[in-house]
């Protein structure tokens, strides 16, 4: 270093940067692996560990895979040094998903850190633990989150809110309810920082559960200005959705300005006036027109109409039914309205968002502007204009985003931005996209008073070095000239000058100029004769084929206008005939057309000359190399045969009639009125202001239109969230992206349907229905009851006291003793909560019930309908929809394989080829190492997916079902597959269902009891839940039979369990009690064995409560596999507690 002193300036500066880099981590980035990292990780000095971790981080940054250090790194999570911890966390988060088994090793330390006194340590532990994303630890994370949600530190609570989407991302159904509850809890927090994060969690976890917002709506509005800017953006969107779902659109707002105001005024919940409106849609549209006239350009009602509908329905849905106006208007009239003046909720929303228009964060301003745009009364919208315009003075990209939004606003209400036209003048730093948007906005908002200044600007732009932009300017000039006939003449002059001076390199500008001229002339051809003549004169100098084509088209179209054109026509035609052979194809076609038209319009004296020219050209065209031209020539010849060949057949009166026909035909074809192309905005897509979708003009993932107005119909929002959810679902259920939330519908729907059909059942012991109760107590059931292992329950919490249980966990997770410990702790926790109840419950039946009857439900398998999950959504798969359902069939190849019924459906209109599901190879390779550790060697050769036969062809709306055998690596981890279709690949994930990792194990009640007795204590897990499905069933059945009620309940339960898990129904015990409505003591037993190792797994459901009330069910699982058993228990409890939706 010092030797460089006194050197030249250049080496000095080099030296100074060298000095500058001393002490930084530069050397670590430049040569991360110049030392052996592994020993450093095992060092006992924190500084060496730090260095090693930094080197690993550098390698990650450069894209190398250093996951092989995982075990060594994970060990360091126990370090006391904050910096080491942070670095380990960074590493862990990057690789946890890749190395799940080793990641589990760290869980114990996170648990410890969660109890640390330093809030920073707690927060980091929670963040990392949630970030690891392993299904196995999801329950632990959830417990940790709910603990942290009550933490005294704001920062930790904020991290808890942020952790919720991570847990939700794992898509574990059993956690959904708990997560949503936590979101609601955190939204109730009194710190604005937490509320912001909770809002973000809400938006990604349960954006449609607006009842959660209802409870806190006012408070959320009031805290909005204090929330962090990023939270503000999300929260504004949520509040807007809530307000619309709760109160509907505001009748004074722009969204409803296109609707008939009188109708709205008279409308008061009654829909008759609207019905009338529907019946006569013409009258409706007529009214609308007049309304638009009244407002006189204040807002373009048609555009507003489309915009507001697009916001509500999503443009794709809206555009798809664009053609059928009836559907539209009826949909539209079903909406409800409210008034911003009377409604306090909406008033407060507008009041609290308006100061946000001054925020220094552009995204906040845009979001707040969006609320005012949709909800504010028309006269108040002015408020958003200046803030929006101010946003433009930031980076080019945000400028583009803002302009995209202004473009829509200005299309709908040009008058909003009209006074501010100067803000849209170009600046040299604008990118081409920004300039193009500004041009479009300028031509939209131009008014009589501003048009002259705008034209001044346009004239400067035409000379811009960016020729594409110059061409766009020319197009904009054309648009404006059509709008304002006053300036049309000046425009034409300018454009003509431009066209005549344009050089060869300027094809786009020239083309655009001619196109604009053509459009302007089209408005009023007769007064622009000179312009046409001028253009015709310049034909000689214009060489761009498309431009020539357009001029020639004008020759044909306006051949009979004015005095001059007919005079020059013969010369022009001769000129065209002369140069016909050297023209381009498109010009040739235009020449032929033009000649045809001229002939049609010509008077007698010129007919002969024209006819000659045309026949000459047709002869040329018939020998042309291009078949389009030959076709056109033939076509014109036939069509105009009466004109061309008239010299020969002049006297043939017989053909007079057919000639008349072809004359009319030719007149229609060549002389038909040209319809102006329907304005482009009708096919434009509108998305919510400020959304990403609005910028990219297609629905980005996660985009949802506004909720249906007033879909949230309840008086007191705080009463019952379940009812609300049910009421809301029909409205926007279709837009829900989560496949699994919709699935219960299909399952329970089928349940309900079939329950009305006559089910047959047989009593195993006694006679038919109604008499089951008289078959008194078998001794076995007595024994069973007495053998109920009450005492063992209290031993659950000490897994390591039992060496067997401990060793088992060890096998499963190479040395991860911690996990077993943790999960058992979890079971202890959950059990401790419920201990008094469950003990009570188990003892109660045995003491009260003296006798019970056993029934068997036959034919239940006919009603079992496995749940169907979506593998590939048709929206993502170009119309290919793939669903799968777990099948109860067993694989003949290997016990490790799970059978799936996969159905491929082609929802598109085109056939699909070569469909095949294959393994995700990359995934396979990287995790081979891991799987080798977990699987015993005998199963190592079983593939993840038994190769599937390729489906060669799948026709439109055809469905093919295929049985697939797969091996999940873990009962909670999804299997990544690749779906081939039409040569394209779609990555898909098969989510395992723990209920199908068992196979039915037929046994009788004696064996069941014996086995149950062998699995006491820590192998037994219980939880409670509430079951409500049967109430609907009972009401539907409406049969007052005594035992029917029990049967219905049992069947409901059995079907629900068997539809979701592959078990054998061992027995159904029924209590014989005095009270006919008392279902307490009903007991269902299921048995099965694990696919992988044939360990038996027993499930017992015990009911408590009366028939027509929600039943309290105690679920008990006995299984040697601790982790599996717990997860299975959770699954069963959740599926039972989940209400059937129908």
């Amino acid at each position: 270093m010092f030797t460089q002193f006194g050197a030249t300036a250049e080496s000095l500066s080099k030296a100074s940067t060298m000095v500058f880099r001393i002490g930084t981590d530069a050397h670590l980035y430049d040569d991360p692996d110049d030392v052996n990292i592994a020993p450093l990780l095992d060092s006992k000095f924190d500084s060496e560990k730090c260095e090693a971790l930094k080197r690993l981080l550098a390698l990650i940054a450069q894209g190398f895979d250093v996951s092989n250090f995982f075990p060594q790194v994970v060990k360091n999570v126990a370090s006391q040094s904050i910096e080491v911890k942070k670095l380990v966390y960074l590493y862990l988060l990057h690789y946890a998903e890749k190395r799940p088994n080793e990641a589990l090793l760290s869980i114990n330390y996170f648990q410890k850190d969660l109890g640390d006194t330093n809030p920073l340590v707690r927060a980091w532990a929670l963040r990392t633990m949630a970030g690891i994303r392993l299904h196995v630890i999801a329950p632990l994370v959830l417990v940790a989150v709910s603990k942290c949600a009550r933490d005294p530190s704001v920062y930790v609570r904020k991290c808890a809110a942020n952790a919720l989407p991570k847990v939700h991302d794992l898509r574990l159904e059993e956690n959904t309810a708990a997560i949503e509850e936590l979101v609601g809890f955190l939204l109730n927090d009194n710190s604005p920082g937490v509320i912001g994060a909770a809002a973000a969690a809400f938006a990604s976890v349960c954006p449609t559960n607006l009842s959660l917002i209802g409870r806190n709506y006012r408070r959320l509005c009031e805290t909005l200005p204090d929330v962090e800017e990023w939270g503000q953006i999300v929260l504004i969107g949520i509040l807007l959705r809530y307000a619309i779902a709760r109160h509907g659109l505001v009748k004074e707002s722009i969204m409803l300005s296109s609707r008939d105001l009188e109708n709205i005024a008279s409308e008061n919940g009654a829909s008759d006036t609207y019905q009338k409106g529907n019946e006569d849609s013409n009258a409706y549209f007529g009214l609308k027109e007049s309304n638009a006239d009244l407002t006189n350009g204040v807002c373009k009602s048609e555009v507003v109409d489309i915009v507001s509908r697009s916001y509500l329905e999503g443009p794709d849905k809206y555009l798809s039914k664009h053609r059928c106006a009836d559907v539209l208007s009826s949909e539209l009239e079903g909406l409800h309205f409210t008034s911003a003046k009377d409604n306090e909720d909406i008033k407060i929303l507008l009041l609290c968002t308006s100061p946000l228009l001054w925020s220094h964060n552009s995204a906040v301003v845009l979001a707040a502007a969006g609320v005012h745009w949709i909800m504010a009364p028309k006269e108040d919208i002015q408020k958003i204009v200046k803030p929006l315009l101010f946003l433009m003075r930031s980076s080019n990209s945000s400028k583009y985003v803002v302009l995209c939004n202004i473009q829509v606003f200005s299309k709908a209400v040009p008058s909003l931005f009209a006074p501010h036209f100067e803000d849209f003048f170009m600046s040299p730093s604008d990118s081409y996209q920004v300039k193009a948007l500004k041009l479009e906005i300028l031509s939209t908002i131009a008014t009589e008073s501003s048009i002259s200044s705008i034209f001044q600007e346009f004239q400067d732009y035409v000379k811009d070095p960016d020729r594409k932009f110059a061409a766009d300017t020319v197009a904009a000039i054309g648009l404006c000239a059509q709008q304002f006939p006053k300036v049309a003449n000046t425009c034409l002059e300018g454009l003509l000058a431009l066209a005549s001076h344009a050089t060869d390199g300027e094809a786009i500008v020239l083309l655009q100029a001619i196109y604009s001229i053509k459009a302007i002339i089209g408005k009023d051809p007769s007064s622009n004769e000179k312009v046409i003549v001028h253009l015709i004169r310049s034909l000689e100098s214009i060489r761009v084929p498309a431009a020539r084509g357009m001029i020639i088209w004008m020759v044909g179209e306006y051949s009979d206008i004015g005095n001059v054109i007919p005079k020059v026509l013969p010369v022009v035609l001769k000129y065209l005939a002369r140069c016909f052979t050297v023209e381009e194809v498109e010009t040739k076609l235009q020449i032929l057309n033009a000649c045809g038209k001229v002939l049609l319009h010509s008077k007698e004296e010129e007919l002969w000359a024209y006819r000659k020219v045309l026949s000459y050209m047709l002869d040329l065209a018939r020998c042309d190399l291009n078949y389009d031209i030959r076709d056109r020539a033939r076509f014109i010849k036939e069509l105009l045969s009466c004109y061309i060949g008239s010299s020969d057949t002049e006297e043939g009166k017989a053909q007079q009639e057919s000639r008349d026909v072809s004359r009319v035909l030719a007149g229609r074809i060549f002389g038909g009125q040209i319809k102006a192309p329907s304005s482009e905005q009708f096919s434009a897509r509108f998305y919510l202001p400020g959304s990403l979708s609005h910028v990219v003009l297609h629905a980005a993932p996660g985009y949802e239109p506004l909720p249906r107005p007033c879909s949230l119909n309840f008086e007191d929002p705080s009463i019952n969230s379940n009812i609300v959810e049910g009421a809301k679902r029909p409205g926007d259920g279709a837009t829900q992206s989560e496949s699994y939330t919709d699935d219960p519908d299909s399952v329970s729907g089928s349940l309900n349907e079939e329950s009305t059909s006559d089910y047959s059942y047989a009593d195993s012991i006694g006679g038919s229905d109604g008499t089951g109760g008289s078959n008194v107590s078998s001794s076995l059931s007595e024994v069973d009851v007495h053998k109920e292992p009450l005492i063992h329950l209290s031993e659950v919490g000490y897994p390591n006291a039992n060496p067997d249980g401990g060793s088992h966990v060890d096998n499963q997770y190479s040395g991860s003793n911690n996990l077993g410990e943790l999960i058992s702790t979890r079971s202890l926790e959950s059990w401790l909560d419920e201990n008094p109840n469950s003990g009570h419950n188990l003892s109660e039946p045995s003491s009260i019930r003296k006798s019970s009857a056993r029934i068997s439900i036959g034919h239940i398998h006919g009603r079992v309908e496995p749940k169907i999950c979506a593998l590939l959504d048709p929206a993502n798969g170009n119309g290919l929809s793939v669903d799968y359902a777990f099948s109860s069939e067993l694989s003949s190849l290997s016990p490790l394989l799970v059978c799936l019924q996969v159905s491929f459906k082609n929802c598109s209109t085109e056939p699909m080829m070569n469909l095949q599901l294959v393994e995700d190879n990359k995934r396979q390779d990287s995790s081979d190492h891991a799987s080798a550790m977990t699987e015993s060697s005998s199963h190592g050769d079983v593939p993840s997916l038994v190769p599937m036969e390729e489906i060669a062809n799948l026709g439109p709306s055809e469905t093919i079902n295929i049985m697939l055998q797969v091996r999940f690596r873990h009962h909670l981890l999804p299997l990544k597959l690749v779906l081939w279709c039409n040569g394209k690949t779609y990555p898909v994930k098969l989510r395992p269902d723990i209920g199908y990792f068992v196979r039915p194990l037929p046994m009788d009640i004696g064996v069941f009891s014996a086995k149950e007795a062998q699995l006491p204590g820590m192998f037994e897990y219980t939880r409670r839940c509430i079951f409500t499905d049967h109430i609907g069933e009972l009401k539907k059945g409406d049969k007052p039979g005594t035992n029917d009620q029990f049967l219905v309940i049992c069947e409901c339960l059995a079907v629900k369990v068997l539809s979701n898990a592959n078990f054998f129904l061992v027995s159904v015990d029924m209590p014989v009690s005095a009270n006919l409505d008392d279902a307490s003591g009903l007991r269902l037993r299921f048995s099965g064995e694990l696919l992988s190792n044939s360990v038996p797994c027993l499930v017992t459901l015990v009911l408590e409560g009366t028939c027509f009330e929600p039943l309290n069910i105690l679920v008990k699982v006995n299984c040697e596999e601790t982790v599996f058993g717990l997860n299975l228990l959770n699954r069963i409890v959740n599926l039972l507690a989940e209400p059937a939706r129908g």
Binding site: G23, G63, S81, L120, S398, Q456, Q459
Partner: protein
């Protein structure tokens, strides 16, 4: 919701990758973005903030700096964003959590070989209702400076008329005050402000009612407010370009002079314009200052930018630039006309005419030293030829 952040070097190579959610994004996507160069939405706004914070920490933002401090960058990113949603973006809090690199820590790490830039404790401000302010900072200097920094945007059309002239200004405050001071700032002529935007510390109600800025300032330098003043009539300097083409040559002359004297010295005057692609060569000589022609490659096209730096206007003569451009073969006249971008700086005055009235303090033990300054420079100041 963001899924990942990649930091790319100038050549498009990935320097740093951070995955934010479980849905991993392959780094090969960068290549596509590099070609498209697009960015949108709130996420983009957040990225801007990340860039701001990073350059604040590293004292600039370039390839070397990021490589040198990649650990800090990682730590910062981790703290700023969690699962794709921003966590802590307040620079003051971040500074307390993760120490910025500085000479002391560097020296320390060289000498002792150990250094930790990660704080052991959670900054108190995370829990406060004024998260932008460090809790109870102790400042030996008791002072506050308020600067009006304005940028003038103007468009002068081909015929020399002023099409548009407006000012984009910022109120920049540099505060070194102890405790939890409460400041109020008022303007003498707030009505000239067209649009405003505020730092989160500004209370919005007093502004709504009386147009008074009431705030608890963050410590150090920050942007209190930005504003816009439209429809101004006076521009400080004029630039008159003249181009005349004749048989493949184009004569060019540019004159610069004072138009409305701001009564403060104007310096750092520059005039820049892009030579159209059809210009083969240029021969330009100024009578004052220096001329540089720089070639830069934007995407596939070479751009030649001619930059004339004048500095201060000389007293004795009006600076002028004259010369000829040789056009590409076959071109008689210059078909397009470049736009001239003018740069200048006027110290000591806010050209919008905005005047501060008074600055009051509450909650302070002793009266601090107050300083006011104005500065105007050219923003998008363009003259068309």
């Amino acid at each position: 919701m963001m899924q990942c952040i990649f930091l790319l070097s100038d050549s498009g190579e990935v320097m740093l990758e951070k995955q934010l959610t479980g849905h991993r994004v392959d780094r090969s996507i960068c290549a596509w973005f590099w070609e498209q160069s697009i960015a949108q939405g709130d996420s983009f706004k957040f990225l801007c903030r990340v860039a701001d914070v990073l350059s604040d920490y590293l004292g600039g933002l370039n390839e070397d700096l990021i490589k040198d401090n990649f650990v800090i960058v990682y730590e910062l990113l981790d703290e700023m964003i969690d699962n794709g949603f921003p966590l802590t973006t307040e620079p003051n809090i971040l500074r307390e959590m993760i120490a910025p690199p500085n000479i002391v820590s560097k020296m320390l790490s060289v000498v002792t070989g150990t250094s930790s830039n990660v704080s052991n404790t959670l900054p108190v401000a995370t829990a406060s209702c004024v998260p932008w302010r460090k809790m109870d900072p102790k400042n030996t200097s008791n002072e506050v400076y308020v600067d009006l920094v304005e940028e003038m945007d103007a468009i002068i059309s081909r015929d020399g008329t002023l099409v548009k002239c407006e000012i984009y200004g910022e109120v920049q405050v540099n505060s070194h005050l102890s405790g939890l001071p409460d400041l109020t700032l008022s303007f003498a002529n707030a009505s000239i402000l067209n649009d405003v935007r505020f730092h989160p510390c500004v209370r919005l109600r007093p502004w709504e009612s009386q147009q008074i800025l009431s705030f608890v300032p963050p410590d150090g330098q920050f942007k209190l407010m930005s504003y816009r003043v439209k429809k101004l009539k006076n521009i400080p300097i004029y630039v008159k370009p003249q181009l005349s083409s004749d048989s493949g040559m184009c004569r060019i002359s540019v004159l610069v002079g004072i138009k409305n004297d701001p009564r403060k010295p104007i310096d750092s005057i520059t005039v820049e314009f892009q030579l159209p692609p059809c210009v083969l060569s240029a021969n330009l000589t100024p009578n004052h200052g220096t001329v540089n022609i720089l070639a830069s490659k934007v995407l596939m096209f070479f751009d030649h930018t001619c930059s004339w730096s004048i500095g201060r206007l000389p007293k004795d003569k009006a600076p002028s630039l004259s010369g000829t451009l040789v056009l590409a073969a076959g071109l008689e006249r210059l078909p397009v006309f470049p736009t001239f971008q003018v740069g200048f700086r006027v110290m000591g005055i806010a050209l919008s005419g905005l005047q501060m009235d008074k600055l009051d303090f509450k909650n302070l033990p002793s009266r601090p030293y107050k300083g006011f300054r104005g500065l105007t420079r050219a923003g998008e100041y363009q003259v068309r030829s």
